[in-house]
């Protein structure tokens, strides 16, 4: 898995701003960051490096999308 979970978010939005591929969004109801488009994570760790409370967990592996004839 790439970005795996966000636990203990304080709602500062740093990770949303840092993510170059729009993986993380803010949930307007909870005012917390959530993983919206996990498949687009490039595992660059900028979200984790920018998080003031170390709430983000990433792993180096990634499930690659299987090739299909159309989609």
């Amino acid at each position: 898995m790439p970005i795996d979970r966000i636990h203990g978010c304080i709602g500062c939005e740093n990770c949303v701003k840092a993510c170059p591929t729009d993986v993380i969004r803010m949930d307007p109801a909870s005012n917390q960051a959530f993983i919206a488009y996990q498949q687009d994570c490039q595992i660059c760790h900028l979200c984790r490096l920018s998080c003031p409370v170390d709430a983000i967990t990433l792993t180096p592996g990634k499930a690659m999308l299987p090739t299909t004839s159309w989609g």
Partner: protein
Amino acid sequence: MAEAPKSTYSSDLLIIGSGFAGTFAALEARKNGLSVIMVDKGVVGWSGMSPWASDSRPFDAEIYDRDEWHLNLAMNTEYVNDRVWLDIFMDESLDIFYELQAMGAHETKPFERGTRVFRSELEAAGVAFVERTMVTSLLKDDDGRVAGAVGFTYDDSREASKAVVLNAGAVVLCTGAGSYKSPGFPIWGQTFDGDAMAYEAGATIVGKEFHDTHPTFAFAPAAAYEGWKWAQEVKGAYVMVGPPNKLEGGLTLGNALNVYQNGVDRRLGVGPGGEPPPVPGAPPPGAEERERNRKYLGKGYLRTPGLHLDMGGPPEAPSEEGDGEKLGHRVGGATAGMGVHKSEGILSSDYSCAADGVEGLYAAGDALGSMLCGSLYPGRGFSSYGSAIQGRRAARSAVNFVKSNPPPKVRSEKIEAAVRNMWAPRENAEGYSPEWLTVTLQNTMTPFHVLYIKERRRLDGALASIEFLRKHCVPRMIARDGHELRMAHEVKNMLLNAEMKLRAGLYREESRGTHFREDFPVRNDKDWFCWVTVQQKGGEMNMGKQMLPEKWKPSSSNSYRENYPRVFPGEDEYLRNQRFSI
């Protein structure tokens, strides 16, 4: 269609992208009194590849020899580097070093530099930001002058996506390069957007046949951060000591050629270049270069306190001890689609950073095809400083242009058409997902026998697929939300790049640097001492040659092998059998 909600902005100068190039361009334009809007696909301070820029190699005339730099860089990049741009780099890079120091950029880690230094400098200078906005096309007035751009906001979690119209007296593209969102390199945010917009506007694009050749790890190919961990742990200026090397230290095609000739070497090491493991008892690689560079220590800019000095040799292993086993040997394609830093993109023949043939359009950094680094990246330290120098230069040219021309006016029908075109994937009910197109593009272009080891029939085969995807699938893309609309425009731009890369690869019937043709495995200075250009004419992609000055050619008093010490597979046999001299 339902009309997209719209925001409109106006400024003297529009800068697209906010890395090194965009930052230095914006600061320069503000110093000269222009109002500046900086629009970014992400957020200013986090933009593009700049959070990963680790190395610098400023030229200091007090300690370095200009001729040695010219000779070494020309040889390493196989003579198609632009020597005027190298002179500009040597004239201005030390100034960039001291300017970064004055800003406090030498007190940060690479990922902190943008937010702690660049962003606050830009804010203090009065640059206005339009963020999390993907720009998709340039606007032109009725005289063909670039007069702004159109884009959209993709984050629709709190408010619906909207169209963004940016009117300006001139535009500077600082959009970086791109890749095919390939695993193992943190460049997925860049998708050749500047090239695509400039190409559509009539600009000339160069450098597409050459490659960046970064590899990734076999057992965790998507783990981009693992290759960069070391850089993000360095706080302060990381300086490459000494001139660029004549042959070593560059991002060559070496790993791909080895795989082609010998199969995969599963012992390839974990250094950024995939360096093989050290031979027991042998001197460590690069020892001689490190010894040679000791003479510069304590002189010139190297007296600056607090520098991290890299004395040369292979780059530091990126991972902690033991990771080699866990992550595996190096495999190619981490930057599939990316050309050479500073050597692919928009051509500006007069060194002003103005796009050839398109009034009001400028480019800098990896969006500019300056050819500073020729056919391969010649060792570390050129990229970020090159971007800063070009950003400043592009702004100076744009300032003169804006001050000497009245503001342009774009007809509202043109703006509406651009917005409609941009929004089209949101309106399609049946068609193809951008995600599927992206994976199909990756599978078509990334294999080494297409990307690196080229041959006419294989290039033609890939080109037939890419043309079909562009002509049949791209107009029928479906985007269900703002994120997918961004993905749709990104894959459209990546597919355009793929066609350019295949056509440029087919067109250059020789081998040089990171461009290898099995069917033409030799350098041919007679016919191909040129850059290959791509330009849209009558809706078709036209290829051309920009011949280079005779005086840049390698010395005719040397043997071929003295000028070109790297040997391509099949090259010696080809040279023995040739009936004409090259």
